[in-house]
Symmetry: C2
Subunit: 506 residues, 2 copies
């Protein structure tokens, strides 16, 4: 490259947001589409991000007493079919295994053979297969609670896919718990939502609204679905995590029963909760800018890149010795649950090298040439600031201040996203204003609309559906933190007790 166009990513966010997203994915080298319909390849820079997300979330889960386990990829059709709403919700988009070998046919090459007596569904979620295990594990109240999580791949045969946001196969965690009382299960549902909100805000620097889904938007088979919703930079909502109170629905269909202390036989109350690689899509859309990805330090694939400047061959040894020693010292520094992670990039490719790392979103870039070494200093740039803003810092000070600098970037990203979300969240009481808010300001940029509306809703599915039909806007959640003011439904004008969050959504 050398010469840089105005921005590293083209188109920009305001020119074409969906295409900008695809170009950021490509330019940051985190993932690519695969030849398998709707399935993605997560490349090392993207997978490292997922590993960090896993590592941190896993620790938060374990703090609450959850243990990891692993259950089969395949669900027998008969199991899948046990909970009526559940199968209704997932049957339309699942991969079905019908054969267990391949054989050469006379005319058409390799064909499926060995038909299975019962087809197997590749898990879209595991309530039914895990429920089967729970039914064997639980017989007395002493066996409860059961607090299990699994990190796994799941498959939902999506027709329109978008990398990270909606893929046929994705990686996720699914927690499944069983409890002796309804209250305890409800508490667990809220506890895990709180874990998700904490993780989103403190680790991903992603401000979220916690709330409850409307009955129409519930997980198939759930009594109550809680969620966190985040605002992307096109002002659409991304559902970023859900926690379901399943009541006794799945316990009844899977026969999870226990004998209580007073010797009654009772169905357990269960929960399930999950987040997925979709979080990475959210991360791109909430923090990325027209130069590419921006990674929050606490989950960044790596923290700092050292770029030696070697103009003359005779400088190489001196510069590399200095760079390697700096890398060693940095890697000794603790940053939250990790050590500082350092990349060394000595590729000879001019200015394109720095732009490569800008596009990849690494929090801190450092250039080190012979003159810097003579000053015992480094030239550092932060991804949350302008790419031309560079600071010369003494080597030892740089090492010492690294954790504080990373925390400052983390905070900046959160505040920037939080300010954006606040700026684009409004209370609306008139249908006309509601309509206006969700009408694109510029017809050539239909992606850019208002944001989140807090409006009154009577609670009826009829109004919810009408708004969805009229404006392509859904109730994202009934927020927990909300003044309970009285008003009139934005749709039908009937009485309402509180405002809910309306938005267009991914």
């Amino acid at each position: 490259m050398g010469k840089q166009t105005k921005t590293a990513i083209s188109p920009t966010r305001s020119e074409d947001y969906p295409e900008w997203y695809q170009q950021v994915v490509k330019a940051s080298d985190i993932a690519e589409n695969s030849p398998v319909r709707g399935c993605m390849v997560i490349k090392p820079w993207g997978y490292a991000l997922w590993e960090n997300i896993k590592h941190e979330l896993d620790a938060l889960f374990k703090e609450t007493g959850v243990k990891n386990a692993y259950f089969p990829l395949f669900i027998p059709l008969s199991f899948f079919n046990k909970e009526a709403e559940h199968v209704e919700g997932f049957a339309k988009e699942c991969a079905v295994v019908t054969h267990h070998r391949l054989e050469q046919s006379a005319d058409s090459g390799l064909v499926p053979a060995g038909p299975l007596s019962e087809p197997l569904v590749v898990r879209p979620t595991s309530e039914t297969i895990i429920g089967e295990s729970f039914s064997k594990w639980v017989s007395s109240y002493r066996d409860l609670p059961v607090l299990i999580n699994q990190w796994a791949n799941v498959v939902r045969w999506e027709m329109r896919t978008r990398i990270f946001l909606r893929t046929s196969e994705f990686l996720w965690q699914e927690g499944h718990t069983a409890h002796a009382t309804e209250n305890e299960a409800i508490e667990r549902t809220h506890m895990m939502l709180d874990v998700y909100a904490k993780f989103a805000e403190e680790y991903m620097a992603m401000p979220v609204i916690k709330g409850r889904k409307s009955p129409m938007e519930r997980f198939p088979g759930a009594v109550d679905t809680l969620c966190i919703e985040a605002m992307m930079q096109d002002r659409k909502a991304l559902q970023s995590g859900t926690s379901h109170f399943l009541g006794q629905n799945f316990a009844k269909s899977s026969n999870i029963k226990f004998q209580s202390a007073d010797e009654k036989e009772i169905y357990a109350w269960t929960t399930s909760w999950g987040v997925s690689t979709r979080l990475i899509g959210g991360l791109i859309m909430i923090h990325g800018d027209d130069d590419g990805l921006i990674l929050p330090p606490r989950i960044a694939s790596s923290h700092v890149v050292l770029m030696p400047i070697i103009r003359k061959p005779e400088d190489r040894e001196k510069v590399m010795t200095y760079v390697n020693s700096l890398a060693r010292d940095l890697r000794d520094v603790s940053y939250h649950s990790r050590k500082i992670e350092v990349e060394i990039d000595d590729r000879d490719m001019g200015g394109a090298r720095g732009w490569d790392w800008i596009k990849k979103g690494i929090p801190i870039r450092v250039e080190i040439g012979p003159r810097d070494i003579d000053n015992d200093s480094v030239c550092a740039a932060r991804r949350d600031k302008s790419h031309s803003e560079k600071a010369f810092i003494k080597r030892d000070q740089f090492i010492k201040e690294m954790p504080a600098m990373l925390d400052d970037i983390q905070r900046n990203l959160f505040h920037r996203a939080s300010d954006f979300a606040k700026h684009h969240t409004v209370s609306v009481d008139e249908k006309e204003a509601f309509n206006m808010f969700f009408t694109p300001e510029d017809k050539d940029k239909p992606e850019i609309h208002g944001g989140f509306v807090l409006a009154h809703w009577c609670g009826s599915s009829k109004c919810e559906l009408k708004i969805k039909d009229d404006f392509s806007v859904t109730i994202r959640c009934i927020p927990f933190e909300n003044e309970k003011d009285k008003g009139n439904c934005i749709c039908c004008g009937e009485k309402s007790n509180q405002r809910v969050v309306f938005a267009k959504a991914y």
Copy 2:
């Protein structure tokens, strides 16, 4: 329980080794069979073991420059079909997805619908689908080497399954690398075998023989397959890890080409290498005894269990306070890459509690009652010693010596396994003696036979097959560390340059 039969596991190893194995799996609560044919449920105590194996192996991989990524679960049939030997090797045992939804039929309930235009194979291994990505990633010698690993689930439709040892779905890692020269790829193949051997011996306390498979036993499509083989307590061999040099076979079928420095177009040389949850089966069989599982400390699911002894309710607070404080202090102690992990078990179930932990194989068990507290000491027992051997140790000394005690257990387990393997490995030069060695000493215990035989082999598949047919004995490997003595093939009497390892195997 309270009263204990002679051993905690029945039958014992010498009574019925295969059944002993199943009973250890059950009694240690590490896994269970699932209702899905050949698929297992890995329970928390077993999954923690797998997490530790992953954690340690992953660090060893990363030290060699390998990065993790993730590739699709599904392989289009046409890809799978690209390498002739490969498809030949796997087509007979694979799960095939043929439909992408379910629908209600008039008469037979839910049935597969939405047939796919091209069937998808659930990955049994990922050479072909990863090769497709590599072909896009590699265009110049500057793009090489590509060093990738993925942690994933794979499916091979095994007809006769045994938990951990041979399951239809299993968890594994598969490394895939591409190189600019043949030599570099061969070096990588050996490097990763060395990583496996180091991991087996130093972390799993599992002595292994490193060597090369005979052509007949190679991975389908490989030029050379290296392996580590370990001797179980029934003296059979378990192949515990393989590393394949794939030559240019897969590069040609997947079109992984690069332009060399002198501008020639060349196919890359590739490798692949993997270990799986099978390792856990090996761990059970190599260390377990007639009282259950024995876990090597470096990968143990947890290190020490504290069992408060509370005979009178008024003792509870005093004992639990002491136990909790001890747990806190122990958890602060580093042990290799982890902290000491502590379980507290205050279940009121008499002697059965201690036996529970013996069966689960935790390295150290500690009992703490009011009298111990008065002495400021604990009563500790080690899983590598007799269950009745207990030591009273001052609290602070116990904390301080914990890492050394765990290392001592680790060493003991390795030496015990190593002595056993040496004791049952012999050099044999006569066919009659060979026959005798593999004939069960007791016809009622067909599982108990000789062990490993180092014998001469001419190198022909004919002799290899004849020995397999006659004795159910295979060539486990052509060992690397082997005096190159000349001799005559144990089968045909022709000249041979070295001895190979013959054994019955899993």
